[in-house]
Symmetry: C2
Subunit: 527 residues, 2 copies
Amino acid sequence: MVSWKNLDTLDAYKELLKKEDSVKLSEVLSGESGAKRVADYCVPMAAGLCYNYAAKKVNDAVLEKLAALAKEAQLTEKFRELYNGAVINTGEKRLVLHQLTRGQLGDDVIADGVNKRDFFTGEQKKIAEFAKKVHSGEITNEKGEKFTTVVQIGIGGSDLGPRAIYLALENWAAAHNTLKMQARFISNVDPDDAVGVLRGVDVAHALFIVVSKSGTTLETLTNESFVKDALEKAGLDVSKHMLAVTSETSPMAKNSGYLAAFFMDDYIGGRYSTSSAVGGAVLSLAFGPDIFARFLDGMAAEDKLAKEEDPLKNPAMLDALIGVYERNILGYPLTALLPYSQALSRFPAHLQQADMESNGKSVNRFGEPMNYKTGPVLFGEPGTNGQHSFYQLLHQGTDVIPLQFIGFKESQNEKDVEVKGSTSQTKLNANLAAQIVAFACGKEDENPNKWFDGERPSSVIVGEQLAPESCGALLSHYENKIMFQGFLWNVNSFDQEGVQLGKVLANRVLAHDTDGALKSFSELLGV
Amino acid sequence: MVSWKNLDTLDAYKELLKKEDSVKLSEVLSGESGAKRVADYCVPMAAGLCYNYAAKKVNDAVLEKLAALAKEAQLTEKFRELYNGAVINTGEKRLVLHQLTRGQLGDDVIADGVNKRDFFTGEQKKIAEFAKKVHSGEITNEKGEKFTTVVQIGIGGSDLGPRAIYLALENWAAAHNTLKMQARFISNVDPDDAVGVLRGVDVAHALFIVVSKSGTTLETLTNESFVKDALEKAGLDVSKHMLAVTSETSPMAKNSGYLAAFFMDDYIGGRYSTSSAVGGAVLSLAFGPDIFARFLDGMAAEDKLAKEEDPLKNPAMLDALIGVYERNILGYPLTALLPYSQALSRFPAHLQQADMESNGKSVNRFGEPMNYKTGPVLFGEPGTNGQHSFYQLLHQGTDVIPLQFIGFKESQNEKDVEVKGSTSQTKLNANLAAQIVAFACGKEDENPNKWFDGERPSSVIVGEQLAPESCGALLSHYENKIMFQGFLWNVNSFDQEGVQLGKVLANRVLAHDTDGALKSFSELLGV
C-alpha cells in the first residue's frame, strides 16, 4: 500500500534542505576528472539514447539523497499502482492508462468490464487496417482517387503531441520513402487558422480527422463545421472525407457522418494521448502503421526503464528528481527545453502543455494547500536558433534557468554540406557541446560585459538519430518524468480544473449574461 | 544632458519599494466601478489599437509614482538622444537607428559621412523597384518564367522578425489579393531544416535572400552553400536566384554571385532589423512594396506616440513601467505573451528574442553589477490554443505570471462559420474577455481543486483587425517598450555579448582544440 505525502514531510527532503552539498560546475567539470564525470554521469535510455547529467549541480552525495527521496516517496510503487489500474487521478476518479496503449507493463487492467489493453491495441489494429486501405487505394474519395493529405482537427492534447511528433518524423519519413500522406493541423477557434490551413490543402484529396474525447470541444466542433462548409462548397460528399477519434460514449461515436471512428477513453488524458488513437490515426495515415508501431515500441522500451527502482538506472526518475532539486532546493524558477534538432521545433510546445498542465497546481491530491513550489514554466526553441535569440538572457541574465538539451549524432537526411572543413551536422553538435560548457563553466574577463558567471546547469539527452523508436523513447521519457515529479510534489498530475473557469465565463459572454468588467472587456473586444 | 543611473538609486523607485499601494483586482474590477476602470485604463495607440491595463495591479497612486519614475529616469530625453543619433549602444560604441528606417522622428543623423535616413529609405526604394520588377515579370529565372517563392536564409534577427510578420500578414494578404509570392525561411544550421524547407519549394521558381549583416554568420553561409548545391544539382544558374541583404562593408556586398544586394548597417541590431532591408526585401517580395510601406507607416505612427512625456499617453512607456513594477516591486519572475490571433503564432518567438536578448543582462551600461533583477523570460503561444495547454499553471500554479494579451475585433478573412449561435471570431474574443476576468478575479469554491485565487494580472492590446498598419504599430510598441525598460534598468539593450562565449567554444570544438569536459561532450555528440 503506498502512502501519499507532501514533499516537505519527507525526511529525505529535509536532509536535502540542509544544502550541505554545493557543487561548483566549473570545478567538477575541469580537467581529467571533468572528462570522467561526463562519461560517468550518463544513464542509458531506450533506442540508443542516453541521459547525461554531468552539467547538473549534483554530486554523489546529492544523488544518494535523491535516491533516498525516491524511495521514501515510493516512486516505483506509485508507478506500479498507476499502470496496474489504481485510481491515480483522484480529482476525476479515473484510472491513468496511457502506458497501456504502447506496452506490456504490469497486469491486465479490467475497467467497465473491458480488458483495457485489448481495447487500446484493438483500436490501433483498426487504425492500421484503415490506413493500409487508404494507402493502397482501397479507400478513396468519391471519384476513386487516392487521398494525399490528412488534416487533424483538434486542440490541446489532440493537437500539440500529434503535431510535434509528425514534424519530428516528417523529414525522416521522407528520407525513408515512408511519407505516405502529408499531415496538416487545425486547432485554434480563430477562423484565420482554418482559412490558412485550407488555403494550402487540396480538399478533394484530403481526409479530415475530428479529434475530441468528449465530442463536445467547442473549438473542434466549430472547426469541423468550418471544414464541412468548405467540402460542401467544393461539391464533395462530406461523409467520405471525415473521420472521428473520440470516446465510445461521445456524440461523435456511431455517427454516420464519419467514414470511420476510432476510440480512446477517459483513462487517457489529452496531453498523454499521442500514443492512443489521437496520435495513432493521423500518424499511421501519414507515415504508415508500421512506423507508428515502431514509435510505440520506443515508448514501451522507455516505459520499462521507468520501472527501475534505482534512479541511476531510471533516466525519467533521475531527471524528475534533479528537476525537483533545482526547483525546490536550489530555487530556480523555470526550465528551458532546447533540442538541437529542427525536427523537434514543436516538441517544446507539446511538453509545455504536458508539464505545465500536469503539475501547475497549488493544492495536493487531497485538495490541501502546500508550502512549496510545484511545476515550473517550461519553454524552449530549437538550437542553434535560440543561440541567436534568447540565449543572451540564459547566459548573462539575473535569473539562473536550468536547461534541458537534446541532440543527435546524425541528421535525419543524408544530405549535408561541408563548409570550412565541417558538415552542418558537425557544426550543430559542436555548438551544443560548446553551449553546455559555456553555461556551466563561464569565463572571466576584464571587461565585465564579457564576463560569464557560468554555474548554469544543464542536462543533455543524446541519441544516434531522431527516428521512430528514439522519438517514442524521448516522448515517454518526458511523460514519465512529469509523472514522477507529480508523485514527488504529491499533486494530481492528471486533471486540469484550472481550465474550467475560463470556459464557464466564456459561455456567459456568448450568452450575453455579463455585467461589470466582464461586460466591458467583451465590449472592448467587439463581442 | 541625460544622466544614466541605476534603477535603485532613483527616489521614485524607493517610493515604489515602500509598497504602500496594494491593488486587489477582484475588488477594483467588480461592479460598475470595475466597468468604468476598463473604460478608463485604456491608452489609444496608432492604427486603431489601444493598450488596456485595467487588469494590472496598479491604481492612480501607483501610476503617479510610475510617472515620477519615468521623469526621474529621463525616459523621454533618452529616447530623444537615441533617435537623434547618440551613441546609446555603449558596449559596441554604436548609434541605434532602427527607428530611422520607418519614420521621421527627430533630426537628420549624419554618420560615416552619410545621412542615415536617406540611406535607409534609399534602400527601401531600391527594394521596392526590384520587387516590382519581379512581380511584373521583368526579372525572371533564366527561362523567362516568373518567380513564385522567396526563401529567406538567415538566423536570429534575420529570421524571427521577418518570419513572424510574414505569418502575421500572409492570410490578410491572401484575402486582399496581394500575396505576390509565398515566403519560406531557412535558419537552423541543422541540415534537416534546409532539407525540409527545400522539399516544399520549387527551386526553379524561387528567389533566395541570404541575410547576414556581417556576411560571416556561420549558420547562414552554411545554408547558403546548401541551397547553392540544390540549385546547381537542378541545373540552374545560381547567381540568377540569389539576393543578399548585408552591410556595405561585408564580403557579401558587391559580390557578383548575387542578382542584387540591399544594405543595412551596424546601427541596426539584428533583433530590431525587421523594418530595415532585412525584413523589407522578403516582405516586399511577398506582399508587394506598398503593403510593406503601410507596415512601416504603422510603426512610424507608433514611434511618434513613444515621444509623449506623459506615460498615460504613451502606451510603450506605460507598458514598460508596469512591467518593471511587476518584475522589481511585485517580484513576478516572467511574462507570458498570449495573442488571440493564429496569425501571430510566431510573434511571441520574435519578442522572446527582442526582449530577452536586449535586457537579459547582469551589468549596467557601465559594466557595473546591479542589485536588482533585469529582463524576465518571455514566452507564449496563441489563444485559444494555450487555454487547452499551459493555462492550467497560469491559473492555479504556485507562481504568479503576468500576462500580455492581444486581440482583434475582426478576423483577417471574411470567411467564418456560425455554430451554436456565434461565429468563430466571436467565440475567440469571448474566450479572451473571459480569461482576463478569470485570471484577475478568480473564483471561490468549496472544492479546493476548483478554487481560483485570481489576482493574476494582465494587459490587453485590442485592435480592429491585424492588418499592415496595426501589425507595424504592434511591433513598434514592443520594440519601444523594451527600449524604455532598458533605460529603466540602466542596461545597454543593444549589444549581446552573452552569445559570444558559445561561438568561441564551438570554434574550438570544430578545430579539435579541446580537452576535459568540452572534449568529452563533443565525443558524446559524435564530433
